[in-house]
């Protein structure tokens, strides 16, 4: 057995630090404005639908299917502020707590209390009744780096998700 803090530090320092988020080659710079109510997607399988400066956020069908039955939804509270890709809550399903990441920076405006009472709504209706929270975007340009529906469908077909 090796007992050495130097060994451990080198062992862990050898590998690069875990990236906060990866947009491996899927970042598209677009000059066309975001259409009203078009859903945008992240590589963490979350969607955001923007109306003016307010974005509604939820998880995709792929994500809810992978989770299984959601038994508890821990959502961020109104007033809390997050940067893009901050951990902002969790969904629990059969002993696993899956992190929720904030897809865009902003301040939470409201959370879906119906989903808190009935977490199964996320599985049944992940794009409609199963929305998770709404926030006021502080950096609208972050939407440019997210995928549109066609790009997300293509992403799902790759091995990297």
């Amino acid at each position: 057995m090796v007992v050495c803090s130097v060994v451990v530090r080198r062992l862990l320092a050898a590998a690069p630090a875990a990236p906060r988020h990866v947009f491996t080659g899927l970042r598209w710079v677009t000059s066309t404005p975001v259409k009203f109510n078009e859903r945008k997607y992240t590589d963490k399988h979350e969607w955001v639908q923007v109306d003016g400066k307010i974005g509604t956020i939820g998880i995709t069908h792929y994500a809810q299917d992978a989770l299984g039955d959601v038994v508890y939804a821990q959502l961020p509270d109104p007033g809390q502020e997050f940067s893009q890709m901050d951990e902002c809550g969790a969904l629990e399903s059969v002993k696993a707590a899956s992190e929720l990441y904030c897809p865009v920076s902003g301040k939470i405006v409201s959370k879906n209390t119906e989903v808190e009472d009935t977490p199964g709504l996320i599985n049944k209706s992940c794009y409609e009744k199963g929305w998770l929270f709404k926030l006021e975007l502080s950096k609208l340009h972050e939407l440019d780096g997210l995928m549109d529906e066609a790009q997300y469908e293509k992403f799902l077909k790759t091995d990297d998700h």
Binding site: V2, V7, A15, A97
Partner: protein
């Protein structure tokens, strides 16, 4: 490139081990077994969290082995007052912790081994991990364990010897589980209660199962021998849990003792402090309502079988609102006194502080007023 350079600094054996590991089957990611030298539950949870947040697991897997002094560990979204008698833990020298993963409440002591399998999100597979543990038990102790549909390890089809929970993030994830080597089961049963304490909540429940110690099936088995057995099996298995043979062990990165301190893992102390804080352990409890009824002594009311009900709404671990419903004839004069005391409870932490406030307030009043003392006693029993 950096890893190769660092590998040389580690020593010839490590470099050979890593290069052999990468040359061998693509499905055998390089692996290390870390053994924590601390028995502080909060430091160990902080260590697990540090590795999850900071390490790149795309080309590396870690099995972290750890144990700690007596503790009740509740799942991320659980209600500790529903899982155990919180007020009694201090006298029993048992601490309460809340972990970051889901699942139910477990009891730890020095006879329990904790295993954390840290991987990338893509590498997460808890059945594979449990299969590796079952293989270790069979190979070194001749014990037959199976994985049931709740992902619990069960001995002889009946007795649970391990509970599982997981945290899934991106890019990393971990699956951790307990192993009952030689735990004080009487203590455990006394501490993990399922009494009806009148709590209504959306918090996740625990599912109770009959348990047994591995040492009862294999005398002499203890945490130390388990660590070696499971560690070796982890190192000789590929990513799907398939055994690659004893020689595979020497091609891996071996066992390392680690110390969960800031010196070894910068920023760990801050995480430890957060995990040990009241705000995390109790303040993160999902909102709940507690409702209890108490039989009123005959001499205090006009009817037989009268009940007094205390109801509290607790938000983020503090009393948000409270009401007391008294039977007819109970309140004779000056009810305002009780109301004043009870409204002062709002905002107080559910438990110790609330009890202290009730006791202090009633100590000032007429001690001979039995009704007021009875109400105070009922409130105390709800909170504890």
């Amino acid at each position: 490139m950096t890893f190769w350079n660092q590998g040389k600094a580690l020593g010839r054996w490590a470099l050979r081990a890593f290069s052999s590991a990468t040359r061998s089957s693509r499905s055998a990611t390089p692996k290390t077994v870390f053994i924590s030298q601390s028995d502080d539950i909060f430091a160990n949870l902080a260590l697990e969290d540090w590795l999850y947040r900071h390490h790149d697991f795309s080309q590396h897997r870690i099995l972290l082995l750890w144990r700690n002094g007596p503790a009740v560990v509740v799942g991320r979204h659980q209600n500790p007052w529903k899982e155990t008698h919180v007020g009694a833990l201090h006298d029993k020298q048992v601490v309460l912790a809340r972990r970051n993963s889901g699942g139910g409440a477990v009891y730890h002591d020095q006879g329990n081994l904790n295993l954390s399998f840290l991987t990338s999100r893509e590498g997460y597979n808890r059945r594979t991990n449990l299969t590796v543990v079952a293989n270790a038990l069979r190979r070194e102790f001749g014990l037959e364990a199976t994985v049931n549909d709740r992902d619990d390890l069960v001995l002889n089809g009946n007795y649970k010897i391990s509970g599982t929970a997981a945290k899934l993030g991106r890019p990393n994830a971990y699956h951790h589980c307990t192993l009952l080597a030689d735990v004080d089961l009487d203590n455990m049963k006394g501490i993990l209660n399922s009494d009806d304490c009148g709590i209504e909540t959306k918090a996740t429940d625990s599912v109770r199962s009959p348990v047994c110690n591995l040492s009862s099936m294999h005398p002499g088995l203890n945490v130390a021998s388990l660590m070696g057995a499971v560690g070796r099996e982890f190192l000789r298995s590929d990513d799907r849990g398939v055994d690659l043979g004893k020689s595979a062990i020497s091609r891996q990165l071996g066992f390392t003792l680690v110390n969960p301190t800031d010196d070894w893992f910068p920023g760990l102390e801050k995480s430890r402090a957060e995990l040990a804080s009241w705000g995390w352990r109790f303040g993160r409890t999902p909102d709940f309502t507690v409702r209890r009824e108490f039989a009123v002594p005959r001499e205090m009311c006009v009817t037989e079988g009268a009940k007094l009900q205390v109801q509290m709404r607790v938000v983020k671990g503090r009393v948000a609102s409270m009401s007391v419903t008294v039977p007819p004839g109970f309140v004779s004069n000056a009810p305002e006194g009780e109301v004043a005391v009870l409204s002062g409870l709002e905002g107080q932490k559910f438990s110790e502080e609330a009890v202290g406030l009730v006791e202090a307030a009633f100590a000032k009043k007429d001690k001979s007023d039995k009704k007021k003392r009875f109400v105070a006693e009922c409130v105390r029993r709800v909170v504890q």
